[in-house]
């Protein structure tokens, strides 16, 4: 345990405490005794329109990035559920994007979104939607959603695999009974299947919650840029710290909820 604790202290606790110090000074990365500036980093942050823009994008990211993979993953799981064969192959195909390096994913999707020769625009033209084609990543009003689309593509398989595992525990006799009583597919899903997988469903929601690639990506990118590209070390650290303080209560709440649900879900 001692070496474990040592690593935690050196590479986690110490830099975290250092972060607390950085936010009250104006550090440029070189000056060994940077000037004390009190709360001015925080004041600048509140007044920075870029921060608010990033926060808005971040909220969109969380909302869309949580709901879409859940819905798509559930849909796929319901499609695969009754099959006796081939589910291994589908699981393999749908889950693969989740394990690939994000950088490589980004490269390939930038080709798909490419304005003139990319497959997305070509596919849209082929079905007669040539008017909506655009440079998906270059156009500021579509860029966020284009990146979200990629993130959803990667996260969907994760939801799918977990929900499929939960569906395997659903009591099939109840579903059959409902069918014999004349319940249609929508009613069976709403009243028979969903209640049984609800704990697991909510648990996955808390897991993907915060979006496929982490709740704070948009704001985090801005913090990174401030610190390492503009050399505003202290400002970037302040931003990162404020994001964390906003995210931690949510994370703790989610974790509590998730632990409760996973106990129910796995016990059932």
């Amino acid at each position: 345990v001692t070496p474990l604790l040592l690593m935690v202290v050196v590479f986690l606790l110490f830099p975290m405490l250092n972060a607390l110090y950085y936010v009250f000074v104006e550090f440029d990365g070189l000056d060994p005794s940077p000037p004390w500036v009190g709360l001015s980093n925080f004041k600048e942050l509140v007044a920075d329109p870029d921060v608010w823009a990033a926060l808005k994008n971040n909220l969109i990211w969380i909302a869309v990035g949580t709901i879409s993979p859940l819905v798509l993953g559930l849909g796929l799981a319901l499609l695969v559920w009754p099959l006796e064969r081939g589910s291994v192959w589908y699981r393999m195909a749908f889950f693969l994007p989740y394990v690939l390096p994000p950088v490589a994913i980004g490269v390939v999707w930038s080709w798909i979104y490419e304005p003139s020769r990319g497959w997305l625009n070509r596919a849209l033209e082929a079905v007669g939607l040539g008017s909506v084609t655009t440079g998906w990543l270059g156009n500021p009003s579509t860029a966020l959603y284009a990146v979200l689309g990629t993130a959803i593509w990667a996260a969907m398989g994760f939801v799918f695999v977990i929900i499929l595992a939960a569906l395997r525990n659903v009591n099939a006799d109840l579903v059959d009974a409902a069918r014999l009583d004349g319940a249609n597919a929508g009613q069976r899903l709403r009243y028979v299947i969903l209640p049984q997988i609800m704990p697991v469903f909510l648990m996955v929601a808390t897991l993907t919650g915060g979006g496929p690639a982490g709740a704070t990506d948009v704001l985090g990118t801005y913090a990174y840029k401030s610190a390492f590209q503009l050399n505003r070390i202290s400002y970037g650290t302040t931003l990162a710290l404020v994001i964390t303080v906003m995210a931690v209560p949510v994370a703790i709440g989610m974790n509590r909820l998730q632990r409760k649900l996973s106990l129910q879900g796995m016990g059932a």
């Binding site: 975290m16 950085y22 499609l79 690939l100 490589a104 977990i162 985090g220 990174y224």
Partner: protein
């Protein structure tokens, strides 16, 4: 599902058709990568995204030699294998201690370790940069291996502790009565029982560290130990026009992950799921 065979077949056939179509759509970006990577350089210029319109390995050769992806593969291994091994050893021993050995300050120590699950990496990434610089660990294999390992330790310890907690108490009691030492209990009695957990954690940690982008980007500023992820990223920035070698570089970057995934598909999926459920 109690309809006759005759009624079931066509319905499932429809599902299979739909699912195969969706699978192809999901896997399309990978098909595109392979297709572009194997094009001739003239074909890439005219028609970079047309599927399988020519064949040549010149892009792969260019990426491997001029693009230095051969070196990046080696660096990725040098950064992933030691850090993963360190995580496995420390997390397994730490998880065991936190689950089974009462010692003073255990509660506080455990919360300290778990803090890493709560606090995202970017909160302290900036101070850590300057800390590594003053420790002279910046741009070294040792430093980045230690950082990579430390980012996964919180999860690993938490994960392994859950496995050790599930084992019955009678096990170590009876071993102790038989005169086994603490180390023997750990190695001979406990460890074999949590091997599935160790396996899942190994695959999970390996993939996380292999795919990690931010840590090498920040703490390996020079090209000396650059791994595949940042190598691909900087290759992209350097010459965005050469789509052919870029596709080949992308293929080289994802290929090890894909091979591992296809070979150990069940373990990978299980690792991620149990990681999610226990974490």
């Amino acid at each position: 599902m109690r309809q006759g065979q005759a009624a079931r077949r066509p319905r499932h056939a429809g599902r299979h058709v739909l699912l195969v179509a969706i699978s192809l759509l999901v896997l399309f970006p990978l098909v595109l990568t392979v297709s572009t990577a194997f094009k001739t350089s003239e074909d890439v210029k005219v028609n970079p995204f047309g599927l399988f319109s020519s064949f040549s390995t010149e892009n792969l050769v260019t990426a491997w030699t001029v693009g230095e992806f051969g070196k990046y593969v080696l660096n990725s291994i040098l950064l992933t294998v030691p850090s993963t091994a360190l995580v496995i050893v420390l997390s397994t021993m730490g998880g065991y201690a936190f689950a089974r050995l009462p010692f003073p300050g255990r509660g506080i120590a455990f919360y300290l370790v778990i803090l890493g699950l709560l606090v995202p990496f970017f909160t302290y990434m900036i101070p850590l940069y300057f800390q590594l610089r003053s420790m002279r660990l910046l741009d070294t294999l040792l430093g980045v291996n230690l950082v990579l390992a430390s980012t996964e330790l919180a999860f690993g310890t938490f994960f392994m502790r859950a496995f050790f907690l599930d084992l019955p108490n009678e096990l170590d009691q009876s071993a102790r009565i038989d005169g086994a030492s603490e180390l023997q209990i750990f190695l001979r009695v406990m460890l074999p029982l949590v091997l599935p957990g160790v396996g899942a954690l190994t695959v999970f940690t390996f993939l996380q560290n292999w795919n990690n982008f931010l840590v090498p980007l920040l703490y390996l500023p020079t090209a000396q130990y650059r791994p595949l992820t940042t190598g691909l990223y900087l290759f992209l920035g350097g010459r965005s026009v050469d789509i052919g070698p870029l596709a080949a570089g992308t293929l080289i970057t994802i290929l090890p992950v894909m091979v591992l995934y296809v070979a150990l598909q069940k373990h990978v999926t299980q690792g991620f799921i149990s990681g999610a459920v226990k974490g």
